[in-house]
Symmetry: C2
Subunit: 580 residues, 2 copies
């Protein structure tokens, strides 16, 4: 009786509505019943030999253990970073670097072990999570990884020059970091989508170790960067340039043994922000992999996105105009800001604020229009569980907090001291508009992603079997067995015929225009901070109002998240564009 | 066909495995099918008139909106708190207090509206979440609320004395805070378990507003307390006593108009930590309520716990010994530490560390024994979803981070400077043991709560219908309809008869002993920090190694979480005791 209507002995042990734990024994929706039966048999025979399936679903033990490992590594790291900041005598950079080298070597070892041994196992990866590790994330990882590798090479060359009088750990650290980055980028490029099934306990701990290592590297980099920026006291010209970063940590009476030290130092300083981004990206990806350990989900959930610019014109054209204007402003800003002339620098800031204000205003207006369109169209919400999507939304909201913080700190500073001059007004207006834009855009992307996509998307439309459940008796028969089935694609024909892709109605077209416009605007807003524009430091308001330490910390923590947020938004808007 | 086997049109719209969102249309497990049908009819007629059930399950719109409201309130508050710390000229305490008064009044208004209007609606609360707002949390809330009210009265009396020369906002603030605390305590006492069904959008926003208000009050109180503790520079005797807290913020040339000012100030200073705890408790409870908005779950899930000390002896007796020893040590410590004599204070610290070290060692040992017992007994893990339980576990782990941080900061400080003398060794050993104890205890509680309870617990045993699903055809018939049914209590008789409550086997008895012992130990460890023992400030190591600001911040943020953690652990262990 248990075996009736597709319920194998395995699925009888299924955890219903199992919330946060990876499901080992829940039956995945698969397109074909014969394939399904075959895979199920293989799976259940493996599951019974490898680990008792009834014990893992809760994932208590190994989730807890890996969580505690991560907690301990991070908190010990926090204490060491704080100590190295507040007590440079007892805990030097060298101590901290030894700690980081240790955890980097440990996690590299695990990754190599995973690549060579676990992932090649017979049932190591039964399913891949189509939503995890999207191309923009992996592409970004490789890009920032390359920059970090170059930074490490410069650092090695620099510290080799000081080897005769400084600790050898300073040379070993970039070497180990380069090795770690290489291994990790390779690992994440290949395996970011894996739902690991073998040695789940070890895999969870390994992933959490890698996650904590990345967080620690990020924390150290942010702290170091902040300290360097606060070494020079705010002068009258109130420019805080990145200080002689690495020389500070070297011994004062130590001379570089080769002549290229200065160049290497300068070059590696420019690459610092990329390294911070790299750690953020890698953290996000390893966390998603950790959540996916033991999960069984079907690749067929991942539909192929089709992208073409047919039917849209206004959005891309306007977006391109903003992009070009942004690039021009950015180049002029970077040139002007280097000048010693105070008036020139104010001019650069003014131009930057005006550009941002206009961009935010236009983006807010078009997002509002998008909201109106949502109100008009009657698409259902996607129900059903999608943990990766939830994680995605969490990452989007979390990353937006960086820019939110910077904006609110700016608003409070400007309002409290009163707007003295045009520059302050522009700063205030652009910060307020940024807050509004962030709120609207977050809502727009999240609401859009939770709506049922328009066809042609047979597989995804059908992922929500509920909307059509009562249309057909045959569907009901299957749904009674407790599994959501995606096989009966013919079912989609019961949807209203007006959704035909051949003739896009005006609402879909307008949504596509808006998405295309917002995408290009977000790229524009990404370029400026990503390539080193820091108006927060050029404008003296922030560090005059808050103390330098505080302001530098807020900006240095907030900005990398802001950069991540813009990239993430572009990816979200791209998906919206395709499903609209 | 849709209506067959218990599937009403309503439940056909049910969201399967709906992960994180409250389920409005999922059919709750109910004990009786006739009652079920009746309730379902009422519910579906209400749902169709009140709000389209297909739109709410995802809860996107209102969850997102309320989340954004909270995010904005908190980040604006963060910026204001930072500004009031770093720029006392532009943003004074008065500005911050006006902001706090505004959000307190707004959330009080919403709570009153909820109590008077929403909760009395016809279908306002169809279900109560039995796991939410347990008695220890509500009891703690009332206790700390009372202390906070007294503190506010003292503050009012104090600031009335300065009214002729200081801002009136300083009198208004404690008045509004007292009103807010009164309304909130009443609201949470009555409604903490509510799963709100009416006006879900407004309710979510209201709850998030209340949540943010509590977080802001907590943040302000922690910052204020930290600042007061760092006003007096570390002297040779290295005692940081709480400074003349409120007088600092009053104008220097301002004299109190009545003679009792000093007494009121002293008294209110002692009550500060209770206010911090109150805000933490209220935040946790409003967050749980927010998660429960729109959720439909049955009260029958909540089983009555039966507590008796039959069969256990060793655990309670040893626990009581630790408790008495702890109380004695605490009293002696409090007396000795007040002395001016350095030797006396060192003696007090030594005694405190020895007491803690012994307690941690005994607790770790007995937790390890508990783990061995878990390994021996063959109970299944509770499968099935329990969002409140997940939240509970999250709160436990999150709260433990406070003590983890303090311990790791201590370990790094002592190891880096080297142990100079007996006191350092004791400090180090007790910190290391505390980390071990925290890891073990977290694991023990979480693992235990996720195990299937021993009988007699018919309703909860049956909540996991999966384990027994294949034992009986009749059960299978019901489970095929997609709902987990708790009605067929006779089913529990198929469980092995050796689980009879009349004769507890040795494993259950030992588990009960361990839980009782750990409970009393946690109470002991709760008493000391809760009633004002701050060895972290008496021992000069911390603020000599880190700067005073850093150390005070770590301790002042970590300790209240530590206190919360101990209370939460006691509640968890109590539950383990009852189900073992």
């Amino acid at each position: 009786m248990c075996l009736a209507s597709g319920l194998t002995p395995d699925s009888s042990r299924m955890t219903p509505k199992d919330e946060e734990e990876p499901r080992i024994s829940s039956s995945p929706p698969v397109p074909n019943h014969s394939t399904f039966a075959g895979r199920r048999l293989r799976l259940s025979s493996w599951a019974s030999s490898a680990a008792p399936a009834t014990r893992d679903p809760a994932c208590n033990w190994s989730c807890l253990l890996s969580g505690l490992v991560s907690l301990n590594i991070i908190l010990l790291g926090c204490a060491m970073v704080s100590a190295s900041v507040f007590n440079t005598v007892s805990i030097t950079t060298t101590h901290l670097q030894v700690y980081l080298i240790t955890i980097m070597i440990l996690s590299s070892c695990w990754m190599v072990y995973y690549i060579i041994y676990i992932s090649r196992g017979d049932h190591a990866v039964l399913y891949k999570d189509g939503h995890a590790g999207p191309i923009w994330l992996r592409g970004g990882l490789v890009l920032f990884g390359l920059c970090s590798l170059i930074m490490d090479i410069f650092k090695i060359a620099y510290y080799v020059g000081y080897l005769h009088c400084d600790s050898a750990v300073k040379v070993v650290f970039p070497i180990v970091q380069a090795m770690f980055i290489f291994v990790q980028t390779y690992f994440l490029w290949l395996h970011a989508k894996d739902c690991v099934q073998l040695q789940r306990n070890i895999s969870r701990c390994g992933l959490m170790l890698t996650f904590s290592t990345n967080l620690m590297l990020w924390m150290t980099a942010v702290t170091e960067e902040s300290l360097h920026q606060t070494v020079i006291p705010t002068s009258n010209t109130s420019r805080i340039s990145r200080s002689n970063a690495m020389r500070v940590s070297s011994k004062d009476n130590c001379e570089c043994s080769h002549s290229a030290c200065g160049i290497f130092e300068q070059a590696s300083n420019y690459l610092y922000p990329f390294n911070i981004e790299y750690s953020l990206f890698a953290s996000a990806m390893t966390y998603v992999m950790w959540k996916n350990v033991g999960r069984l989900m079907d690749e067929h959930h991942h539909h192929r996105l089709r992208f073409h610019l047919r039917d849209v014109l206004l959005g891309p054209v306007n977006g391109l105009l903003v992009l070009v204007a942004g690039l021009v402003t950015f180049i002029v800003y970077k040139v002007d800001v280097q000048e010693e002339d105070e008036a020139k620098r104010e001019e650069a800031l003014r131009m930057h604020y005006i550009m941002n204000t206009l961009a935010y205003a236009m983006m807010s207006a078009s997002t509002l229009a998008g909201w109106v369109l949502y109100g008009l169209d009657q698409r259902e919400h996607v129900s059903g569980k999608n943990p990766t999507r939830s994680l995605d939304v969490g990452l989007l909201l979390g990353a937006s907090m960086g820019q939110f913080s910077i904006c609110y700190f700016t608003i409070v500073a400007v309002v409290a001291t009163g707007t003295q001059g045009e520059l302050d007004v522009l700063n205030l207006v652009s910060a307020v508009l940024a807050v509004i834009q962030l709120c609207l855009q977050n809502g727009f992307i999240i609401e859009g992603l939770h709506r049922q996509p328009y066809p042609p998307m047979p597989s995804q439309v059908f992922a929500n079997a509920l909307a059509t459940r009562c249309h057909s008796d045959s569907t009901l028969m299957v749904s009674k067995s407790g599994t959501v089935v995606t096989s009966d694609v013919s079912e989609t024909h019961t949807l209203p015929h007006t959704y035909s892709p051949a003739r896009l109605n005006w609402k879909r077209r307008a949504l596509k225009e808006i998405c295309a416009f917002l995408m290009l605007c977000n790229i524009t807003l990404w370029i400026m901070p990503a390539f080193g524009a820091r108006p927060q430091f050029e404008n003296p308001h922030g560090h005059n109002f808050y103390e330098v330490y505080m302001w530098v910390a807020v900006v240095n923590i907030g900005l990398p998240f802001g950069i991540f947020y813009r990239m993430h938004s572009v990816a979200g808007l791209f998906e919206l564009f395709v499903i609209s």
